[in-house]
Subunit: 336 residues, 2 copies
Amino acid sequence: MTVTIRDVARRAGVSQATAARALGGYGHVSGAAARRVLSAADELGYLPNRIARALASGVTWAVGLVIGDIENPFFAAAARGMSDVLEERGHTVLLANSDEDLDRERVAIETLRARRVDALVVVPSSGTASPHLRAAAADSAPLVLLDRPVRGLGVDSVTVDNEVGARSAVEHLISYGHRRIGLVSDAPEIPSSAERIRGYRTALARASVGVDDHLIALGGPTHRDGYLGARRLLEAPDRPTALFTANNMMTVGAMHAVRELGLLIPNDISLVGFDDLEWTTLVDPPLTVVSQPATDLGREAGRRVLARLDGTGGRPRRIRLQTRLIVRGSCGPPAP
Amino acid sequence: MTVTIRDVARRAGVSQATAARALGGYGHVSGAAARRVLSAADELGYLPNRIARALASGVTWAVGLVIGDIENPFFAAAARGMSDVLEERGHTVLLANSDEDLDRERVAIETLRARRVDALVVVPSSGTASPHLRAAAADSAPLVLLDRPVRGLGVDSVTVDNEVGARSAVEHLISYGHRRIGLVSDAPEIPSSAERIRGYRTALARASVGVDDHLIALGGPTHRDGYLGARRLLEAPDRPTALFTANNMMTVGAMHAVRELGLLIPNDISLVGFDDLEWTTLVDPPLTVVSQPATDLGREAGRRVLARLDGTGGRPRRIRLQTRLIVRGSCGPPAP
DNA sequence: GTGAAAGCGCTAACAC
DNA sequence: GTGTTAGCGCTTTCAC
């Protein structure tokens, strides 16, 4: 049925081992033998069986990636960055969505580990070291944390300075004179969100503005959750004069709420979002946002994997990339 | 080092075969033996080796997906839809980006086939049956074409009625009195784009409007390509009074061009886009678009795979889902 | 119901 | 440089 290396060897008139060496490009083979093997393989339409190779060698050339949701442009960019780095070096990435659910995350990690990926990159849904993360960290296949730190795991992580990023956003709002600044975020169990919430609080505290918990809307990770949160804030009797949305999904939801309520940006409400996407300069006014290097984050994670696999990883590193506040037109002084 | 089924068997005091049966949930095992095996596995932290299982059984429980670019929201949605259907049934999806490049597509397909995926879902970059697609079609692992048809392959395909969709967009524009309608698309080698271009031409022909090739801007698949194409059209001496953008990447690019040139929608220029994304209702005016069921497309492809794997696939099916014109505010009569 | 044993297709010593 | 051979960890007959 399918042509194996044995068939190729037979046709080339060499042993299976020689054929394997020629095909695999390892060990020593004479030029003549190699040529015969290669052309035999070509004639037979030989396609190496990576499964068999993986079982025999103990190396799959596959790297697992667990993200929240590939439909979130931030994750898509990170996934792309990582794939680009890894595929160039011959690795395949196996992707799984956790939907920010700890149980789905566990299943995804188990599946990937059962498939014997050479390394695992995960965007953890929780900041506490769950058993499945501990197990993955203890595994011989390296684990790299992407976008979010987890304490006490002792593994590489590639994140962004979320607290500083959020603080810069809120400080920007404060500089316009805002005091009632709403926060729309997903669950605080998500480490990056927790940091952003902290940044929000810190900025307010530094400016001696008290934190009003009614101004904080926490919910799920979808557009709709962001919409619901923003809507609750904006319909409250004493509504905020500005909004900070902690990620791009929240921004989309909040924008819909603002629009639906007939509010004008920045006259009625100022807004700073997290994540810079293409459409943020297409809306009117263009959005002031905290931009984070999503693709680079993924690339860096890919490089960490490569380093670990090369054995040049060194001590666990906590890499932090910087965010950047991009001031555009969605902020102004609070309405009187 | 790693615990194997042998270790579990030994600890449970049964043979390897019995342990495998209990763990794999096949064949006959007594309740008592099964319990002992399961708890032994649990105590040892046994994680089945899917690689070994795949080699022995000939089934990987993996499905390959080749798309253009996961950063394109349309593909992300399709990938998500497919994953949801397949993962629920225990399959893992292996994703690869082709960047609409035939050579990268070939490499991706080869890699996936070498990994012995049980089935392959491909969004083909070209409408002609390339050798690597033929090879994949001839393989024992079923091939399903997603989003784009390819003639003469004799395999399942799940697509959208692109020609009708594009026609409805252009007819809508014509109904407002537009005669000079620009088209911004990516390469016509891409089957779906070819159909949309055909739809554009057909609509014009039916309305007895001559096709002016200077009004057609064809280019690459990125935002920037869309921007460049639109910009060229809009800066021409006799610029179009309306624009049809053939996919969401082109729409983003065109919007940037429109904005940069200080043109007002729909006063200076009308626009109909393809693909309905969240942000299209966030811009002002909200965009009139041809919406296509991206997630459903992926789900349907997943179901086709499942059917083929079950052996209930039947004759190759060409499934076509419908598009829908969503009229919002980006169209008006041509400027005098 | 259970065990022994033969592979799945490849890699990797080890001899020659 | 090349061949022989023993696995990799599991599934799967085939006896018992």
